[in-house]
Subunit: 336 residues, 2 copies
């Protein structure tokens, strides 16, 4: 089924995403023409997903489309920005129309949800690689950085990190059983907690609303893409501080707790998912204690958890029974 | 030689490209923060190079770095825009430091030449793939489109298309000789005309200065990336016109003429390079006859050649001895 590059873009991507009035020219010319609002800074992020590295071979194409955009929206959220426009660089080994339909649906539904227009990109033949860039805005000078944390600021995380790594582990176990290709492992064949974990890997939720609120509350922010301890260490280093984490404060989802209770994972595996698993796309941020009241409702709901604090010094320290021990967590490093 | 992702970015890419005052945050945070000038539209382009598709295996890394940026700058030129910021998504099978040093030098020299700052991107492990995005500006409402051509407008091309395709053919012949890896085919081993052709493939020149001038002179523009006839057909279709080309007017470089004279290529091969070869990154544009005086000096120097005109109707027509014959030229279609 030979479908040319131009027909492919026309059929699957011209209408993917939202329609916006600030796009004088979108897909179809040498470049897109975009009209940024006056008084705002532009925020540009870029993330690439490679088959076999960022998702298992044979992963559901709808999930790949969702994740390719979600990981970028998460970076936008970590800057406190509002997304507007996306570019998509699609490298495909072959033109598989059912795959493309599912992929563009996964991408498009999330794009529409956040009013993101797909304004350009390119398609080429090669090993399956999805490059996405998103452009967004913040009021001038208000972008949330990694470097603004100060000693005494509290360290907070959104949601329940570790779920996505547990979900990926489930998918990898499934794909290790050759009789059941992973693309066909439907959530309906799993118990509810396991389906939840798998869903958390396949369809992460970028924390855009929280990120926009944090612009005026947080002193520094990063998204948890490479593991909680590693990303906390990066934030602390950028802020010129040490970071102290109290492991007993780390949130653990009901789904992951249930999976441990059912013997699907050991407690040690679960702890490793929470501390070093990537792919959650939660927000990790610091704030002065005075900001607590503004987030109290989020804290009460469990949407935000205080897990530690910045201190003078450097590096990652774990507070166990009141004693700080130095720790290391390189996070996930693609070339480590 | 294990070099982590963050060390890799720090060592090879933090200083690649120009330094600009409109970049409050560049490489190193979740995203870049950029300050667009008021009164301008933003132009966003994206192009990906895949090893074995867009350049031969073992191609010189300095050339790959140059081309990865140049193909995007060419799209910026075709919109009549001025480039400002670039993002780089680098997918590497392994960390090869000498390769990275050469690649970033090729990218960085061209970026500095055009005052382009490298503001972000990502690195990951996988099959060699270079994704680049460039952001630039045009005065609001003045972006050059493919769709503005009108019947009676003249069709013009910059430079001498076909050289790059001839240069690629030379590289492919060289890499077909296993004793001489193509990366080691130095221009110094070739005669001057062949070295020129190879250089035109490896180090194309984005026509940014011409593109910026065309904003107020041309009615429509596109860059010649997929072949002259194919790209002319695309411009004509976007403008709702037919395009008539006079093949005897097509420019042919002294280097390609010399290569034919020396028997390196047949005349038919050379004609195919000129009409359908890609990778030249020249500008193809239309303008009303009244614009000729403003480009007369360029025409006299051979930097711009009038090769045909738009007409009412549709499709590509070749004018031979005063008779228009319908023709087809799909150009290079990655999935055709």
């Amino acid at each position: 089924m030979a479908l040319g590059e131009f027909a492919l873009i026309e059929r699957y991507f011209r209408a993917a995403g939202a329609s916006r009035s600030d796009v004088p020219i979108g897909v179809g010319d040498d470049g897109a023409i975009l009209r940024p609002p006056p008084g705002f800074d532009l925020v540009a992020v870029s993330d690439t997903l490679v088959e076999g590295v960022h998702f298992p071979q044979g992963a559901a194409p709808r999930s790949i489309g969702h994740r390719a955009l979600a990981v970028n929206l998460s970076d936008i959220a970590a800057m406190g920005a509002t997304p507007a426009w996306a570019l998509l660089s699609l490298t495909l080994p072959t033109v598989d129309e059912p795959w493309l339909a599912e992929f563009s649906a996964g991408f498009g539904v999330l794009a529409c949800e956040h009013e993101v227009a797909l304004v350009g990109g390119d398609t080429t033949r090669g090993p399956l690689t999805l490059g996405v860039q998103v452009l967004g805005f913040v009021p001038q000078g208000e972008g949330l950085r990694r470097s603004g944390g100060r000693p005494g600021d509290l360290l907070c995380v959104s949601g329940t990190p570790g779920d996505a790594a547990a979900g990926l582990a489930l998918l990898q176990r499934a794909s290790a059983r050759p009789a059941v290709p992973s693309a066909e492992v439907s959530s309906s064949t799993l118990s509810a907690p396991l389906a939840t974990l798998q869903q958390r890997f396949e369809y992460p939720t970028p924390r855009l609303a929280l990120g926009a609120r944090l612009r005026t509350l947080a002193s520094a922010g990063i998204d948890v893409s490479d593991g909680l301890y590693g990303d906390a260490t990066k934030l602390a280093a950028a802020s010129g501080c040490a970071v102290h984490i109290e492991p007993q404060r780390l949130p653990c989802s009901a789904a992951l707790t249930a999976a441990v209770a059912a013997g699907v994972f050991t407690a040690a595996e679960a702890m490793a998912f929470v501390c070093a698993g990537g792919d959650d796309y939660e927000l990790l941020f610091t704030m002065p204690p005075a900001a607590i009241p503004a987030l109290q409702a989020d804290i009460d709901r469990g949407d935000v958890t205080i897990i530690g604090a910045l201190a003078s010094g450097a590096g990652l320290w774990l507070l166990e029974q009141g004693v700080a021990q130095p720790a290391t967590a390189a996070g996930f490093d693609h070339f480590g």
